[in-house]
């Protein structure tokens, strides 16, 4: 969805430096994650969050780091089909689970209906919150929490949009929910 140059800029801006290993601290170990159907093993320190593992170690920079504190929702991914904030869990804790990121939604070149609805309804401006919004919306619809505008606002409240695209986001989620019925 983004051009290479834009992705590089975002990656540089959002990636927090990971401090060097302290002397005597426990070293990395093999962590096996299943992401978008692929099972991969990486040497990771226990302190690496799922978000940092996805972005820094697996090169999946579609998942964004906004606050790194659970407050913005930009890092939302699905774990065993449930939406969760990848900044608030350790990669090592998610072994053996099915993780889905924004990169895993489309079917080849065919966009997921929620992705298509966000484009059709102009549900983003800068796009920084968008992958989190879409992952959250996929789950929100599947949970059956997209029946009215108010319900969408409440059940999408874990995803903030600094550009204030909320009316169009609500419209996109409602439209995608209607389509699935």
């Amino acid at each position: 969805m983004f051009s290479t140059s834009r992705r590089t800029v975002l990656k540089t801006a959002a990636a927090a430096p990971i401090p060097a290993l302290l002397p005597g601290a426990p070293a990395s170990s093999g962590v096996t994650l299943t992401v978008n159907g692929d099972t991969v093993t990486r040497q990771l320190e226990p302190r690496v969050t799922l978000l940092d593992a996805l972005r820094e170690d697996l090169g999946l920079t579609g998942t964004k780091k906004g606050c790194d504190r659970g407050e913005c929702g930009a890092c939302t991914v699905l774990v065993d089909g449930r939406r969760t904030k990848s900044c608030l869990t350790l990669a090592v804790m998610q072994q053996g689970r099915e993780i889905t990121t924004i990169e895993g939604l489309a079917d080849g070149d065919r966009l997921h209906p929620v992705q298509a609805a966000f484009i059709r309804h102009d549900g983003f401006q800068c796009g920084f919150c968008t992958s989190g919004q879409i992952m959250s919306a996929v789950a929100c619809i599947r949970e059956g929490h997209a029946g009215s505008d108010d319900e969408v606002r409440e059940w999408m409240s874990g995803n903030l949009c600094r550009c204030g695209c909320y009316p169009n986001i609500v419209a996109a989620v409602r439209a995608a929910a209607d389509e699935e019925q």
């Binding site: 401090p19 290993l21 302290l22 601290a25 426990p26 320190e45 226990p46 302190r47 969050t49 790194d68 504190r69 659970g70 929702g73 939302t76 449930r82 939406r83 969760t84 904030k85 900044c87 608030l88 869990t89 350790l90 090592v92 804790m93 959250s136 789950a139 929100c140 949970e143 929490h145 606002r153 409440e154 059940w155 409240s157 874990g158 995803n159």
Partner: protein, 322 residues
């Protein structure tokens, strides 16, 4: 975040053996602990992942519902038995955090989440809770969020959990397991007022695990009212969990009132409850309950507004139960 060793034991015995070591800390959902560790507010050498322990179940009991310590907030709120027998609990859980956080956050972790006091969460500020003896910056600092009842000269931070407020109204019991064996602790004995040891927040001993929470269904009619700075996805400025049983002529037979955002612990007010017993739930009774609630209030520079706010919140909650 400082690095640490990680273990994921499969039995409570192994968890307890690891958990009693110095520098060890349990992790459940990780939604509070990881923030505190990223901010350097807490540092731990060993993180023990509890998620392999068999403490996830939500089970109906003869008296109510038993919540495993690792049951997720979202799963408890959606559980048919909880919705039917403990609607107040479901309502309260859905008023907290966001859908993503509720999918990860556990019942045990929720009860043990730490205060959102900004001085506690800023490792560069003095805080007796984080660093005993360093002072309390909130006493004369920005104390809009802080306690109006139950604070001390050492700490006026409030407990942020919505769940704990509802469980206090519901008279829940906390089951624990430590190296000395199993214990059952009433929720009202679980939390500790700060006094001169604000670093001691609960009755839990070092390394002790929460295994489950028993919530009796009451047959009372209840409501959780949460007042926030924005419509949703925000901690309470003040909150009220009210449970009422009325008899003939609308006279109140039983009342249980618990409050969040006003005290360092979920605050149960027997004084306010007493004002309602034997009376109809009219404006005069509600007003009397509010006055009794805030009689011991000692507000600070920025939080005097909580006195009328919590009374109005109580009036609104009780008005909805008439």
């Amino acid at each position: 975040m400082q690095n640490f060793a990680y273990r994921a034991p499969a039995s409570t015995t192994d968890a307890l053996r690891l958990g009693t070591g110095t520098g060890a800390r349990y992790i459940a959902g990780g939604t509070d602990l990881l923030n505190l560790m990223k901010d350097g507010v807490q540092r731990h050498d060993l993180i023990i992942d509890l998620n392999r322990l068999p403490l996830h179940d939500i089970t109906p009991t003869t008296t109510g519902v038993r919540l495993g310590a690792l049951a997720r907030m979202a799963d408890v709120a959606a559980h048919p038995q909880v919705r039917r027998r403990l609607p107040l609990l479901a309502e309260t859980l859905l008023a907290g955090a966001s859908p993503q956080v509720r999918n990860a956050a556990t019942i045990g972790g929720n009860l043990l989440q730490r205060t959102r006091c900004w001085y506690f969460r800023d490792a560069s500020m003095p805080c007796n809770k984080r660093e005993p003896g360093s002072g309390c910056a909130a006493q004369h600092g920005q104390n809009r969020w802080h306690a109006i009842i139950g604070g001390s000269a050492h700490c006026i931070a409030v407990h942020p959990s919505d769940l704990a407020v509802a469980l206090t109204a519901l008279d829940a019991t906390v089951h624990t397991l430590g190296s000395g064996g199993a214990r059952t602790i009433g929720i009202r004995d679980f939390y500790r007022l700060p006094g001169d040891t604000p670093q001691v927040e609960t009755a839990l001993r070092s390394g002790e695990l929460i295994t489950a929470v028993d919530v009796p269904s009451t047959g009372l009619t209840g409501r959780y009212l949460k007042v926030r700075d924005r419509a949703t996805f925000e901690f309470a400025v003040v909150s009220v969990a009210a449970l009422i049983r009325t008899g003939g002529g609308g006279v109140v037979r039983e009342a249980r009132l618990a409050f969040g955002g006003i005290a360092p612990v979920p605050w149960r007010s027997a004084e306010a409850e007493r004002q309602l017993i034997g009376r109809r739930l009219d404006d005069a009774a509600i007003e009397a309950a509010g006055r009794a609630l805030t009689l011991p209030a000692a507000p600070r520079e920025h939080n005097a507004f909580k006195v009328p706010l919590v009374r109005r919140a109580l009036a609104t909650a009780l008005g909805g139960l008439r």
